[in-house]
Symmetry: C2
Subunit: 111 residues, 2 copies
């Protein structure tokens, strides 16, 4: 393995944090500045900036060029790549739900 | 934030490695022992064991009780949870693809 992280690994790693996922959820409602993004969190502005750098490296956000505001914008294509990878496993989790359905039906029959 | 990682973060973190994703792909074809899982990789058996521990903590695999073989099995429900989280963003990546489609149509028109 090289030290360079493949793109998909970078996306999954970026999603492995509740604050970063909350930032993406906020950006789904429209672009926002770092200060606006930091508001709902108890973490510091530098901590939010660090999270934004991780999201930016993973290609999940872009930042405006205006030096003062640099609003952040969601870039969802890498989320589509991640969803595409997971899609191959759908039959497995759907069959688990089916098993649960069967189990619940059995329980109801017994009542 | 507590030191305990929330379940969804644990799943995304477990997926943020190409070897771990390859192990899950292998287990999608059926259960396998650690030795069988290690075969296609150049990494050591202890390194594979470490990856398996990450996958097990994330709830993505279960291991048999037979002390000697302890075959690994895929547990896909947490992948369904991860896909469910990503699903909320589908409209964003689909609209990006739409924009690409429009762009390609424009190029074709111009030829």
């Amino acid at each position: 393995m090289t030290a360079q992280v493949d793109q998909l690994s970078g996306v999954f790693a970026a999603l492995a944090d509740p604050t970063r996922r909350a930032i993406l959820a906020r950006l789904a409602a429209g672009e926002a500045t770092v200060t606006e993004l930091a508001e709902p969190f108890t973490v510091s502005l530098p901590a939010i900036s660090k999270h934004l750098k991780v999201l930016e490296r993973a290609g999940l956000i872009t930042r405006g060029r205006n030096a003062q505001w640099r609003p952040c914008r969601l870039r969802a294509d890498p989320l589509g790549d991640a969803a595409g990878w997971l899609e191959d496993y759908r039959r497995f989790w759907e069959s688990s739900f089916d098993r649960l359905d069967d189990h619940l039906r059995e329980i109801q029959k017994g009542q």
